[in-house]
Subunit: 231 residues, 2 copies
DNA sequence: ATTACTAATATCCGAGTAG
DNA sequence: TCTACTCGGATATTAGTAA
């Protein structure tokens, strides 16, 4: 079904033609769908031909009613939008304070083996460095546990001649509602579970004007499925 | 906003781009929206230009996310469809049995002063005759009272040199779920309030194969507003 | 692999108008 | 008035292709 045709059907529904026949001329309908009388006429013909609306005429013009099939077309879109709007991916909010880490983030993030995967799986090449966040409240510890129960974006470990690098689990996040990035849980971290590390395509300390001790709000998006990527 | 563009935005939402960036190539998107890669590309450019989606690129292709403005566009349609689907015009169901009237229906309905108005306000030229229905249950009496509390389609009274004809109140109905017609309450009827009369563009007794004593279900549509008609 | 440009083509739209 | 036809011009789409 052509989008323009669907749009006309939708407009008719707005005019009340879903419940009862509506008396409307092609000229009036044309105004509603922002087209000419001729186009309105043609669209009605097509909608009728495909059984999505019924019409009958008298001398003054036509009466139009959306059929059950027509309502099905609208309902299909409605239900999908409902899923999008209401069944929205749940988000988890974490709050924490910025602190100076051991400055080793840059070393890790800068590794080619990680960077290639970040770019491929997260969609950005991270600024070489991590922002360390310490969670303060019990509630935030709890939320972090909950977050980790959800499927993560997995960054595989790898090794070079000198040493090996462990796997990472990432979650997409929005930081302070402004910057899109990712939250990482490094397995072999020096920090306990009250710490999370953030990466982003930009230097977060600069972009968000952060100093040690500043509060940061991290909103994590949980996806039931992995983002599509080439296999 | 062009319907085709809205459709692309909607498809992106279906793909999950409302919550997080989605990795999808123009070729993949083209398959979803049933178009060519070139059209998908062009539509994305337009959506980005109008601030409805955000994109960023890496060597393998682009990542796409619907912006707040984009979500607003989808939400507008969603809420309208919700009204259409759920806030649907309330319907009242009446059940009654067919009985032979005084055969005067044809005389009344056939009057030019009525017919002209039926055609104009109901959208059909009624078969010259009415189907008389007697309500049986208390619940149906109740429902009839309720129905009469709603605004009706008013057929004005008129007179000729010989006599005068009273005003009618009509409601749009579907009879036995099959025929669209109208329920009339004639003010100066011989019958008490347990009787309603139905008109339709066809002879109901024939079309629905009805005999005296048969049960008939009448579903009345209540419209807060009158159907649009020329003033 | 991608995205997106240009040019050729297909489709759609609306002015004019008949019935 | 109304609907809906024809037809030429406008718009959108795709093929071919560069980067």
């Amino acid at each position: 079904m052509k989008p323009a045709l669907w749009n006309t059907l939708y407009s008719l529904a707005e005019l009340g033609a879903s419940q009862r026949p509506v008396k409307i001329s092609t000229t009036q309908l044309a105004r509603v769908i922002h087209s000419s009388q001729q186009t309105a006429s043609r669209q009605l013909i097509q909608l009728e031909k495909t059984g999505l609306v019924e019409r009958h005429f008298n001398v003054n013009g036509g009466w139009i009613r959306i059929t059950e099939n027509g309502m099905d077309e609208l309902r299909r879109v409605y239900l999908n939008l409902k899923t999008v709007m209401e069944g929205a991916t749940p988000t988890l909010k974490l709050e924490g304070t910025v602190f100076q880490g051991l400055q080793e983030g840059a070393y890790y993030v800068g590794q080619k083996g990680y960077r290639r995967q970040f770019t491929e799986k997260l969609g950005f090449d991270p600024y070489p460095g991590t922002l360390n966040i310490r969670l303060r409240s019990k509630a935030d510890f709890q939320t972090r546990k909950e977050l980790e129960a959800y499927p993560a974006i997995l960054i595989e470990g790898f090794g070079n001649e000198h040493r090996s690098f462990g796997p990472l689990r990432c979650y997409r996040v929005t930081i302070n509602g402004q910057v899109q990035g990712a939250l990482m849980t490094i397995q072999r971290t020096h920090y306990d579970s009250s710490v999370v590390e953030l990466i982003a395509p930009v230097k977060l300390r600069e972009k968000l004007n952060l100093k040690d001790g500043d509060k940061v709000v991290v909103e994590a998006f949980i996806s039931g499925e992995m983002p599509p990527h080439r296999t």
